[in-house]
Subunit: 446 residues, 2 copies
C-alpha cells in the first residue's frame, strides 16, 4: 500500500521504534520524536547494559518486521529459574517444556537494532526534541529543541513515550479520562556480577537467577560478556529496607547474611549500591487511549511492574495488534483506533494484575515445597494434555495466540482446581497416581 | 493557645474557609488564597443558587466553630425522599426516624457565612490569586495575580482547592504518590423549577425529590425562595443520553415522556437545558495526602460523586478530625499530619464507594417494591433496637460518631442478613412477625 498519510510517534524506545517500522512498512511517512539524545551516539558501557526478558509475544512482532533472527542471535536463552537459598543451595525450575525459554537481551542493544531497522525503512528520527504540547483537536505536536519551538501537524499522533508520557498528559488534561498510578512498597536497585576469566559466566548462564527471601528478592540476568545484571527488589521503608541500611557496615552485613553466594561474586557491591539509584515501581492505567487521531501505546498507556517480564512484550504486542487491525480494516484509522483500545484494554489490565501477583510467586513461593510440587503436577498435566492444560506462565510467556485476559481467566480456573488437589493427603508421594484426566475435565466445565 | 505559626490555605470554598476558621480560633495566623474572585462581590442570582445536602457530620463541625445555628436558620429540612413515577404518582420514604432530616442549603450562601466568620476571626482572604507552584521542601507557595508573581513561605500549607487541586498536582509530581481519577458514564445538568405565586413551593417543600428511571434520574432540592434546583443525572452516550437528544424536539419529547409532572413546572426547560453545561462526575483518590508540611484535604484529597450527599460533609469532617488531633497532640504538626492521613484515608475511601453504590439505589431501587419493603423492615429493626441496628443511610447521615468505614462495614453485614430475610416467602404480608431479635443477634456475631 502507498499512502501520503503522515504519522508522528513520540518516543524512540523499543515500542516507538518498532511501531515506526511497522507503519513505514505499510507505506506511511513516519517521524519519531525523542526527548533524549540518540543512544547510538553514546558509549555503551560494556557489561553494564540493562537487560530485559524477551519472550514469544515480543519475538512474534520482531519476526513480523523481519528482525527476529538478528535479535535471537544476541539474546541469551534462559530455560528456567535458578533459586539460591541463604545457605547457598541451588535448585531450579524450568519455565516451560523442553526447548521453551525466555531471552535475556540488552535493552539498548535491542533499541539500536530497531532504530536502525526503522531508519532503513525510511523513518525519520529526531532526537533531543521534547513534546511541549499536543493539540488533540488539530492533531498537532509542539516540539522544543534548544529553547526553540515548532508546531507540526500530522494525520495521527502516537504516544509511545513511556510511563511518564507527555502525550498521555495531554490526553489526561481533557475531560473524562480515567487514570491511575499505584506504587508498590518496594523499590529496586541494579547491581552487578562481573564476568569471570575470559568472559566466563560465574553463575549458570542459561537461567534467570532468583534469591527469594519472602518479603523481598534479588534476581540476576546474564549478559553476553559473561557478566550478570542483578536487581534487588526491596522495601523502601521498614525494619529491613533501603531506609534501614544506613551505613557501609549495614549494607555489607545485610548482603553477606542474606545473599552470601552472590556477595562473593560482587567486588563492587558497595560502590554500586551507593552509586546506583533506588527507583520506584508503579502500575499506571488510563482510558481512553484515544482522542480524535491521537493514541497512546505501550508503557504510556499501561505501565506494569516488571515481575512477569512482560512490559516490553506487551508493548510489542500492542504494535502487532494495531498493525493487524490496520490490515483488516484497510488502514481506516477512524475504525481501527477505537477498536484497538477497546479490544486491547482488557489484556493490558490482565497483565498488570498478573505482574503484581507474580512478585509474590518470585520472592516467596519459588522457595516453597508445596509450590514446587504444584508446578510439578501442572507440568505433568501439560505433558499429558498439551492443549487442554497449559500452565498460566506458559500461556503468558510462550503462547502469543492466547490473550493475556484469557490466560488470566484460565489461570484462575486452574488455580481453583489445583487448590483442591493440594489439599489431598500425602500428595508429595502419591501425586503421580492422580486422576489427571478428571482434573483436565474440570477445566472444560463452566 | 497563642502561636506565631503561619498557615496558608489554598482555596476559599466551604472546606478551606471552615478550616481557616478552626485554625484562627486555635491562634494561628491564617492566609487563604483563592483563584476565583470574592463570591461576596458577585450578584447572586436569586433562586438560581446551587444547593447542597448538609447533614449531621457537617453540622457538627459548623457547631464547633459557632456557625451551626446561623446556618440552620437558612437551611430547608428534607425529611425524606419523594419519588415521582412516570405516571406522576408520588410515594415517599423517610430518611431516618421522626425528627431526623438532611438540609438543603445554598452552597454560595454557606460559603459566604464561612468566609465572613473566618474574617471576623482574623483570617486574611486573598482572591484572584492562583497557586502557580508549591515547594514541598521549603513549604513555599508561588502565587500569580494579574501576571505578577510572588513567593511566600509558611509553617504549613493546606490544599483545600478542590478536585482539580493545584497543591495536589505538586504532590503528585513527587515520587511514589498513588493517584486515581475514575469518571462514571453519567454526566449532570442543572435545571430549574421556579417558585409558584407568592414564593410558594410547587412540590412538597421538605423533601428531596427523585424521578428514578432505572438507568438515570432527575432530582430536585428546595430553595428558600420557593424554587427547586433540579439535576438531571444522565448517560453521556448511548440510546437515551445527552448525546442522543440532538434537537429541541428531542429534548422536549424526552422530558414530556419521562418527567411529565416536572415538565409542567419547568417553563424555561429548553433554555436551561441548552444554556447550562453538561458536567462530568468523578471519583478522585490520592495518597499520601502529606509531604513534609503540606497537606491536601476535602475534595483535593478525595473527590466523590454526589449521590450520598456527603462530599462537603466529608470535607467538614476532615476539618473537625484535624482540629481534634491538634487538640490531642498539642499542635505538634509533625505528629498530627501523618496521623490525620492514615486515620482518615480509610473513611474517605469508604464514602467514595458508598456514594457510587447509592447512585444505583437512587436511580433504580427506590422505585422497587422489594427495596421499599427492605427499608421498612430495617426501619422497624431500628425502632426496636435503636443502638444495635442503625440503617446504613442513618449511620452515614445522622451519626457523626460512627466512622464512614464502620458504617460501610456494618452496612455490609446488615445487607447479608437482609438478603437472607428477603428470600423468605410471602414476606410482604408476614414481615411483621419476623424474629427481629434473632436478626439483631446476627449483627453481634463475627
Amino acid at each position: 500500500m502507498k499512502t501520503d498519510k503522515h504519522i508522528a510517534i513520540a518516543g524512540a524506545g523499543p515500542v516507538g521504534s518498532l511501531l515506526a517500522l511497522y507503519l513505514a512498512k505499510r507505506g506511511y511517512r513516519v517521524d519519531v520524536f525523542e526527548r533524549r539524545p540518540d543512544l547510538r551516539a553514546e558509549t555503551l558501557q560494556a557489561g553494564r547494559s540493562i537487560n530485559l526478558a524477551l519472550s514469544t509475544r515480543g519475538i512474534r512482532a520482531l519476526d513480523e518486521v523481519g528482525l527476529g533472527d538478528a535479535l535471537r542471535r544476541v539474546a541469551i536463552p534462559m530455560h528456567g529459574r535458578v533459586m539460591h537459598s541463604v545457605q547457598g543451595q541451588i535448585s531450579s525450575l524450568p519455565y516451560g517444556k523442553q526447548g521453551q525459554f525466555i531471552n535475556s537481551i540488552s535493552r539498548s542493544g535491542l533499541n539500536v537494532v530497531l532504530i536502525n531497522g526503522a531508519e532503513a525503512q525510511g523513518v525519520n528520527f529526531h532526537f533531543n526534541q521534547r513534546v511541549a504540547h499536543v493539540d488533540l483537536q488539530k492533531t498537532t505536536l509542539t516540539l522544543q529543541q534548544n529553547g526553540g519551538e515548532k508546531k507540526l501537524a500530522f494525520d495521527a499522533i502516537i504516544g509511545a513515550d513511556g510511563a511518564f508520557s507527555a502525550v498521555r498528559a495531554a490526553l489526561q488534561f481533557t475531560d473524562r479520562v480515567d487514570y491511575s498510578q499505584d506504587y508498590i512498597d518496594h523499590g529496586y536497585k541494579e547491581l552487578h556480577i562481573p564476568a569471570g576469566p575470559n568472559g566466563s559466566f560465574l553463575l549458570e548462564k542459561n537461567a534467570l537467577h532468583i534469591w527469594p527471601r519472602e518479603s523481598f528478592m534479588m534476581i540476576a540476568l546474564p549478559n553476553p560478556d559473561g557478566s550478570f545484571t542483578c536487581t534487588l527488589f526491596f522495601p523502601f521503608e521498614g525494619a529491613t529496607s533501603f531506609a534501614s541500611l544506613k551505613t557501609n557496615e549495614d549494607i555489607v552485613a545485610f548482603f553477606k547474611n542474606t545473599f552470601p553466594d552472590a556477595v562473593a561474586l560482587m567486588p563492587d557491591l558497595l560502590h554500586d549500591y551507593q552509586t546506583n539509584p533506588t527507583s520506584s515501581l508503579v502500575t499506571m492505567k488510563c482510558y481512553p487511549w484515544v482522542k480524535n487521531k491521537t493514541l497512546v501505546i505501550g508503557d504510556a498507556a499501561h505501565a506494569v511492574v516488571p515481575f512477569y517480564g512482560q512490559g516490553m512484550n506487551a508493548g510489542f504486542e500492542d504494535c502487532r495488534v494495531l498493525n493487524e487491525l490496520l490490515d483488516t480494516h484497510h488502514d481506516d484509522w477512524d475504525v481501527v483506533l477505537p477498536m484497538f483500545q477497546s479490544q486491547r484494554k482488557q489484556d493490558t489490565d490482565a497483565i498488570a494484575q498478573l505482574a503484581l501477583d507474580n512478585f509474590i510467586e518470585m520472592r516467596d513461593l519459588v522457595a516453597d515445597a508445596d509450590f514446587l510440587l504444584r508446578k510439578k503436577i501442572e507440568a505433568r498435566l501439560h505433558e499429558l494434555y498439551p492443549e487442554q492444560w497449559i500452565p498460566q506462565y506458559s500461556m503468558v510467556t510462550f503462547h502469543d495466540t492466547i490473550r493475556y485476559s484469557e490466560a488470566q481467566a484460565l489461570g484462575r480456573k486452574q488455580k481453583r482446581i489445583m487448590d483442591d488437589v493440594m489439599k489431598l493427603p500425602h500428595l508429595a508421594t502419591t501425586w503421580q497416581s492422580l486422576d489427571f484426566q478428571q482434573l483436565v475435565r474440570r477445566m472444560q466445565e463452566a
